[in-house]
């Protein structure tokens, strides 16, 4: 017998319904369990002493005054904690010879970025700990700091002098060598003779994830297991890292991610602060808590992006792209964080995007600098890649003098061509770029806006209109363990789920994914309700505690639904399989004559039936089970996908640019995303809206700025420009659907889509508005000053200073 894939007739199908979230009742009434809300009796509080210098030798640390302060329990340095502090690991050495400094939670002898921890104060209250931190007297000998990729590449000033270089790893993919395509160099050489070559250099500025809940960790060592509550996306990975680097047996560590207030990749880290809290709690035998201030969060929680991208695109004169060469330089910051080096590699497979490029070369040089370490931020590598290629396709269109949609259509994979193996070696299972684009164009009113643009240009309006396009795809749902292994990633990409049938007929679902705002409780309940034919409200979703969800690989990379959701489906199917012989026995029928339907097992052709919940009750009692059948219908499943997951979409943006002031205003934003089958449209729209604003913010507002000394000058919410409600607009969000073929629900990831797609759509629109004034690039964020400067320094084909300069020696201008 097979389980039904869809909800049985008669019961309203949950999948596809705009269910209001189960999570919300607590959150809207203030009944929450953020880590900083939690109090264990006797908790001591930590404050970190942080280096004000980006690079310095620590010559002495005098803790005597701090130790003497009232209610201070201890003040500890790296030497004091020794090996008990463990080490912050890099789980993705992208090359065998990657150069990576040891990253101790507390710096020893030398600090490598401003904000690095040099000592920790333990006190009875957080305020007293912070007061005493001011009394710790640290003497530094300042060393020259290397800030910025360009400076780091010179290897003149070294972030870590003992390493002898700032260059960490060079990761290369070449389609000719891999056998997935031709030679990009050959294609470029050919195009220089009889085609078109577009060369650009783009800056991916450094961003700060800026989740709303500052990070917090509480460690209680007073039980048989040491319990760690942390505002983390990755309780399972954190537990592994704590065990692997401190020698404490994994079985003696319990990590709980209680309510977690956003992450966006920013809480995908094994942090120094977590390691220090763990070590101090063990040393003192007392619970300890650390909650960062926002300013600490901005300077010490990992940053994202930060690349220079040198792109060379070769095309025939009709606009058919013949090859793409990508040379990246990526800033790791002071240390190679948990997946830090791997972030640009996640973009390596995505520069070819939705297009049928026949030749592709990708090389990424990662560098160390004296700045905060970088790692995953929403999209992680894929926004950078999508930005690069979508900007280039617009530049190609401008060179050809055709509509940017036309040049995309000429090169994209058509819907008949799926499954399609790309030049980067990935197999895209499904998609329909034509359908998404057609729908987006219609909703957006593309032709009318183009007409208005022409009219404003002809009129010489001081406010010009620009239309920006981004036809993105991404690889998400991290991911097939074998592929991750082949990329030298330190872990697998499977996900685990359990379904427990309780004696009362209620259903407990345990997932290894760890939600922090995504609405898993609601969406996963919908999936299980349909699969088992039980009521939505009868399903309870448990997660984020390594003693409850014992196996899991957590939440990032738009993986929870497409990997974790599929594990859930398989566990639910196993429950039905296990319940069948018991149901048949209770119905006094042959297993072959019983079918699962509408949440009940029914003897075919009769009215005799028994509900799954009744089978659960009978199994609990275990009074009358078939011989040899265990008294349990609970089931586990671990799912490892065979492929990544490829959502795509067409995003269209209209921007108005005041040519006199450089001010930009978003007029309209329309997106049509194909994310396969949708479990909960309401949750999906929320993911898209939030993703859009993060991507738009990169285009227009956000940037982590360092001064020459390596001080983060955008180190507070006064200076780091998170968008507000007043900066943003309402969006038009729609979908087309081609189900994914690699999971039974047909779903595709949506968590990162908006962020990946929107940045190039906005910048393309801003550039489009002023291209006729001689501008062909504006560096992000496109501030009024930069836009104004671009307009006013253009006219003769000159580029904005420091932005998109043609960095290819011996060539004039941007196009060859």
């Amino acid at each position: 017998m097979t389980a039904v894939a869809d909800a049985p007739e008669g019961l309203e199908k949950e999948i596809g319904k705009e269910r209001r979230r189960k999570e919300d009742q607590r959150l809207i009434t203030g009944r929450t369990r953020w880590t900083d809300n939690l109090v264990v009796p006797g908790t001591l509080h930590l404050a970190m002493v942080r280096s004000p210098f980006a690079h310095a030798t620590i010559t002495s640390i005098d803790v005597s005054a701090a130790k003497a302060a009232t209610n201070v329990v201890d003040v500890l340095t790296s030497e004091d904690l020794g090996e008990a502090q463990g080490v912050c690991i890099n789980a993705w050495p992208i090359t065998p010879d990657q150069v990576a400094p040891t990253h101790l939670p507390i710096a020893q002898g030398r600090v490598a970025f401003a904000g690095e921890i040099v000592a920790v104060v333990v006190a009875r209250s957080a305020a007293e700990a912070r007061d005493a931190a001011e009394l710790v007297d640290v003497e530094y000998d300042e060393l020259p700091a290397v800030v910025g990729i360009k400076q780091a590449m010179k290897d003149e000033v070294l972030a870590h002098p003992d390493l002898g270089t700032n260059k960490s790893a060079l990761w290369v993919f070449d389609s000719a060598e891999a056998g997935t395509g031709g030679s990009a160099d050959d294609a470029i050489a050919q195009a220089r003779t009889d085609g078109i070559v577009i060369e650009r250099e783009f800056r991916q500025q450094r961003l700060i994830p800026a989740f709303m809940e500052p990070r917090s960790v509480l460690v209680d060592p007073t039980g048989e297991q040491i319990t760690v509550w942390s505002a983390t996306q990755i309780p399972h990975i954190l537990r592994f890292a704590l065990a692997a680097t401190t020698g404490v047996p994994e079985s003696k560590i319990r990590v709980i991610a209680p309510d977690v207030g956003g992450g966006f990749g920013g809480k995908l880290q094994q942090t120094p602060e977590e390691m220090i809290a763990f070590a101090v709690a063990r040393r003192l035998g007392k619970p300890v808590k650390y909650t960062e201030t926002r300013s600490e969060s901005l300077v010490a929680a990992h940053h994202g992006r930060d690349q220079w991208q040198k792109l060379t695109l070769a095309a025939e004169k009709d606009g058919t792209v013949t090859g793409l060469k990508v040379e990246l330089e990526a800033d790791l910051g002071a240390y190679v964080a948990i997946v830090g080096g791997g972030v640009p590699v996640l973009g390596a497979f995505m520069f070819n995007a939705i297009y049928k490029f026949p030749a592709y070369h990708f090389a990424c040089q990662t560098v160390l600098t004296n700045t905060t370490f970088t790692d995953a931020y929403r999209g992680a590598g894929r926004p950078e890649a999508t930005f690069g290629i979508e900007r280039m396709m617009d530049e190609l269109a401008a060179e050809l003098g055709v509509d940017p949609l036309e040049v995309r259509e000429k090169n994209w994979i058509t819907h008949e061509e799926f499954p399609f193996t790309t030049v980067a070696g990935l197999e895209y299972d499904s998609g329909n770029y034509e359908a998404a684009t057609a729908k987006a164009k219609e909703m957006f009113g593309y032709d009318a806006l183009r007409a208005e643009q022409r009219e404003r240009r002809e009129r010489g309006d001081t406010v010009q209109l620009g239309l920006g396009i981004s036809t993105f795809t991404e690889m998400c749902g991290l991911a097939p363990s074998r592929v991750l292994g082949s990329l030298d990633y330190g872990a697998g990409g499977w996900e685990h789920a359990s379904v427990r049938m309780l004696a009362t007929g209620k259903v407990e679902v345990v997932t290894g994914a760890s939600a922090h705002g995504q609405g898993h409780e609601t969406a996963f309940s919908q999936i299980v309700a349909d699969r088992l034919g039980v009521a939505f409200d009868d399903v309870e979703v448990l997660h984020g505690d390594t003693q409850i969800a014992a196996k899991g690989l957590d939440t990032y990379g738009s993986r929870s639904l497409v990997v974790g959701g599929e594990a859930l489906v398989r566990a639910a199917d196993k429950v039905i399989e296990k319940a069948l012989p018991i149901a048949a026995h209770l119905l006094e029928a042959s297993v072959d004559d019983v079918k699962f339907h509408e949440g009940s097992f029914q003897v075919v052709g009769t009215d005799a039936k028994i509900a799954l919940g009744e089978v659960a009750t009978a199994t609990f009692a275990a009074h009358n089970l078939p011989d040899g059948v265990e008294p349990s219908i609970d089931a586990d499943a671990t799912f490892d996908p065979v492929n990544f997951n490829y959502p795509h979409g067409t995003h269209l943006c209209a921007m108005e640019v005041d040519t006199e002031t450089g001010a930009v205003r978003m007029r309209k934003y329309t997106c049509v995303d194909d994310i396969g089958n949708i479990i909960n449209p309401l949750i999906v729209s929320g993911q898209v809206h939030g993703g859009l604003v993060q991507g738009i913010a990169q285009a227009l507002w956000e940037e982590a700025v360092y001064d020459e000394q390596g001080t983060l000058v955008s180190g507070s919410f006064v200076d780091y420009l998170l968008p507000t409600a007043a900066d943003t607009i309402s969006f038009e969000v729609e979908h087309t659907t081609t189900p994914a073929l690699t999971n039974s629900l047909g779903t595709k990831g949506v968590g990162e889509a908006g962020t990946i797609a929107s940045t190039p759509a906005v910048v393309n629109a801003v550039v489009d508005a002023v291209r006729h004034l001689g501008v062909n690039d504006i560096q992000m964020p496109c501030t009024p000053e930069r836009v104004w400067t671009a307009i006013n320094s253009a006219g003769s084909g000159r580029e904005t200073e420091d932005s998109a300069m043609p960095h290819f020696e011996g060539q004039e201008g941007a196009e060859s």
Binding site: I28, E213, V718
Partner: protein, 164 residues
Amino acid sequence: MTRINLTVDGAKVADDVEPRMLLVQYLREKLGKTGTVVGCDTSNCGACTVHLDGTSVKSCNVLAVQADGGEVTTIEGLADTVEGDLHPVQEAFRECHGLQCGYCTPGMIMQSVALLQENPSPSEEEIRLGLEGNLCRCTGYHNIVKAVQQASGATAGATSEVSA
């Protein structure tokens, strides 16, 4: 230490507090009102917004001693009961999916209630400007704005019920 007496979510409370203690610290640490949260240290994010004597304030920007004698309403005192009977703004946030991680939500709801008290029928632009002091990183504000619009409709005929 200074003695303060105030009313919080309808209950009379009194404590000795350090003069430097912030109202948000008092609410969280002394009263256990952890529904109100801290999101920044520069009074930019608004996560700690509560009502003090009927108007919204960022409770990280008020000293506990300044609230002496005052009446404070937090997110925990907004609904009539813990289960059900939500304030229309709370209901609208749930109905419109105006929250994801929920961290900014208490402040966002308290500010929205205050906004609607001042302007029961705001335009989209007035809502966006009225919430400018509250940051959200999850929702892109789209559904928060919708929630306030919906709440304004729901309360338009009965604004007297929109009480803090």
